[in-house]
Structure formats: structure tokens, C-alpha cells
Symmetry: C2
Subunit: 220 residues, 2 copies
């Protein structure tokens, strides 16, 4: 309301959290993740996965992925230093735990775009610091339209993605929030609302105790 009141409130420390978005392919998870991660207003950090697969010419080590060999991957995994990992077509992918814990400890939040299996793994390791959102398509017919419209996949691949979508959709009930992505702008606003609310949760705002003590210590 006034410049003076703005200056008088110290910033209040809190624990960060990981916002996890999951959805079947085509429901908008990647588009939404990129949109919210690209908006500096939200100050979200992205994690850099490790992978054992070969680097592609367009990829930068330490930016797109950290490229490591199988031995290094197994060492991370057996030391419980991966928040989640998966094998895809013979290659291993994982999210290193330390950099994530560092970001959360500093009171910043991250966004992950992973499937329900990855979500389960992360939740088992960082329970209260995880906020999970499932994105549903408004209908399977619309999901098919979107996959066809983006024209990335062959008809066969589209059928496989739709068959997978039927399985993945059934995991909605394991998530904290569910967004039906009927309209991308609405879905984005929903995601913003979740970020706002989760940042205001009392349990996460570890600095409030000191803030209130400061209030009560003011002279009359």
C-alpha cells in the first residue's frame, strides 16, 4: 500500500519444493513446464539429469544433460544419490539428489516434468518437499487431435501413445492436484495458483517463527 510498509517487511525464509508435472503424452505437461520455467517471475530452477546415453551434436554437457558412463551412474545409484532414475531403450537417466537439495535448502523451487514412476521415487525420498500435479486431457479425442496436429509422430506411434495414455491417465489419483487442460491459458493460470498457494503454506515457511518473534519484540 505504501513504500514504507513494503520496506518494513523482511523477506521470510522458507523451504523450497519440487513441483512435479505428469501427464500422458500430448496432454500439455511439457508445454506447461517450459512456459512456467521460462517465466522469470516464478524463479523456478530446472534440474540437469545425468545420462549414460551418447551426447548428440546439438547437446552441451552440463546444460542439457550431464553425460556420464555406466560405472559412474551405478555409483550414484548405489550411494542413493539419485532422486529418481529410469532405463529407456538401454540407456540410463537419473536426477542427482545433491543439487536439488541445495536449491530447496536455499528456499528456491524446482519444476520436474516426469512420469508417475519417477514421481513415486521422488516422493519416497522428499515427501513434504514435493507438490504433484497431474494434467488430464479434456477427452481422448482431443488428445488424438493434439498428437496428430503436432505432426511429430507416425500413425503407428500415435496409436502407441494413445494406448499408453489410457494406462497413464489412471495414475491421476496419486497426485495432489489435477488440472484438466482444456485451455492452455487456463491451465497456466491454474499452475500459477498452485505455486502461489504452496509458497504460502505455513509448514514450509520456516522463517515465520522468527518473523513473528520480531513483531512481538517491537516496542509499544
Amino acid at each position: 500500500m505504501q513504500a514504507s510498509s513494503k520496506e518494513s517487511a523482511p523477506s521470510i525464509g522458507r523451504r523450497g519444493f519440487i513441483l512435479i508435472l505428469s501427464s500422458p503424452s500430448g496432454a500439455g505437461k511439457t508445454t506447461l513446464t517450459r512456459a512456467v520455467a521460462a517465466d522469470p517471475k516464478w524463479g523456478l530452477d530446472l534440474s540437469i539429469s545425468v545420462t549414460t546415453r551418447q551426447r548428440r551434436p546439438s547437446e552441451i554437457d552440463g546444460k542439457h544433460y550431464t553425460f556420464i558412463d555406466r560405472e559412474a551412474f551405478d555409483a550414484l545409484r548405489s550411494a542413493d544419490n539419485l532422486l529418481e532414475w529410469a532405463e529407456v531403450h538401454g540407456n540410463f537417466y537419473g536426477t542427482p539428489r545433491r543439487p536439488v537439495e541445495k536449491v530447496l535448502g536455499a528456499g528456491r523451487d524446482m519444476i520436474f516434468d516426469i512420469d508417475y514412476q519417477g514421481t513415486r521415487q521422488v516422493r519416497s525420498k522428499l515427501a513434504e518437499d514435493v507438490v504433484t500435479v497431474f494434467i488430464l486431457p479434456p477427452s481422448l479425442a482431443e488428445l488424438r487431435h493434439r498428437l496428430e496436429r503436432r505432426a511429430e509422430d507416425s500413425p503407428d506411434t500415435i496409436e502407441k501413445r494413445l494406448a499408453n495414455a489410457r494406462m497413464e491417465i489412471q495414475r491421476w489419483s496419486e497426485y495432489d492436484y489435477v488440472i484438466v487442460n482444456d485451455d492452455l491459458d487456463d491451465a497456466f493460470r491454474s499452475l500459477e495458483g498452485i505455486l502461489i498457494a504452496e509458497r504460502l503454506k505455513r509448514e514450509r515457511r520456516v522463517g515465520l517463527t522468527a518473523f513473528v518473534e520480531g513483531l512481538l519484540a517491537e516496542p509499544d
Copy 2:
């Protein structure tokens, strides 16, 4: 994204909730409650309290309060038909349970502007259907400025309100969310974020099971 997808998504039923705002006097609870209740975008219902006090000439029975006698009040209370009640200066005030349950059952939300004692009572009766928000002032000095600026109270009353504020502030730790009301617009946006997020919570969206069954029943 398209008119067609908009039409294809049915509205998904959910349980409503009560958004409770508490704060010490002057921290902005009433201003915020009125602002969000007056915005038709949020479709929030207000409850009408019952009271045993005399109707003032400006008040309309059934609008500002439902005016009842002490016997009727005691009957409501002993039948557990009040979500919360309090005695103030020898008069009794309470929130009838039935109209609230009707609104929530219809999937609509309500907003209550009550103190921590009322909050405890409502929470004990409607646990999961209650979302609680505590509004803190940025400082006690700012709280004093606001009370002086609104020029409603005598210096003595302001001192009493500030002494009370010191007690009430200590209840912040019983609430789900805490907003430091440093700037009214920011606080309003925080409240909107909480409403958006709480409406997306999976547990509340009892219609999602049927919605997903509908999705999965679509022909290939």
C-alpha cells in the same frame, strides 16, 4: 485452445470448502474478505449468522443477521446445529450448520471472517472442508498506523486492539496458510492463488473418478 475442446469437457463435480480468514484487528482480514466475496468471479457464498442481540434500525433480518431469541439460540447450540458460536458483551452469535453444509454439498465455497476460537470450532466439525488463512501485518508499527489512519477508534481503544493483536498474532501457527499483508493487491492475489489451488485439489474433486471413467470409455 479451441472452442471445440472447451465444449467437450464436462464440469467436474467437487466438494466445496470454507475459506476462513483470521487476523488481528487492522491487519486486513475484513477488507480482504469483502473484496474477494464481492468479486463474482469467485462465486463465494457468505453465511448469515444468527444473533440474540437487538436488531439495529439499519439491519435487515435474514440479510445482515437472523435475529433470534435466547431460547432458539440455545436449542440450535444444544442440537449441535452451530458450526461455531461466541458470546460478546452478553449477546450470542453463531453460524448455523445446515445452510453451510448445503452450500458445500452443492460444490460451492464460502468465506468466513472469524477469530482463532471460531476457526477451531469450525475445524473440529468440518475438518477437511476448511481452508484456513492467517493474515499478519508487516509490523506492529504498521498495524498501529493503519488503526490510527482509519480513525474509527479512540486512542484507548487502539491501545486495547494492539494489546489484543499481540495475543492473536501468536495463533498464526494453527493455520494452513499465512499471508503477510504488506500490500493489499499482493495479499489479494495471494488469496486468489489459494482459492485456485484449493479448488484443484484432487481429494475434493469427487467428480474426477467419473470424468476419467468417461475418458477411458471413449471408443478408439
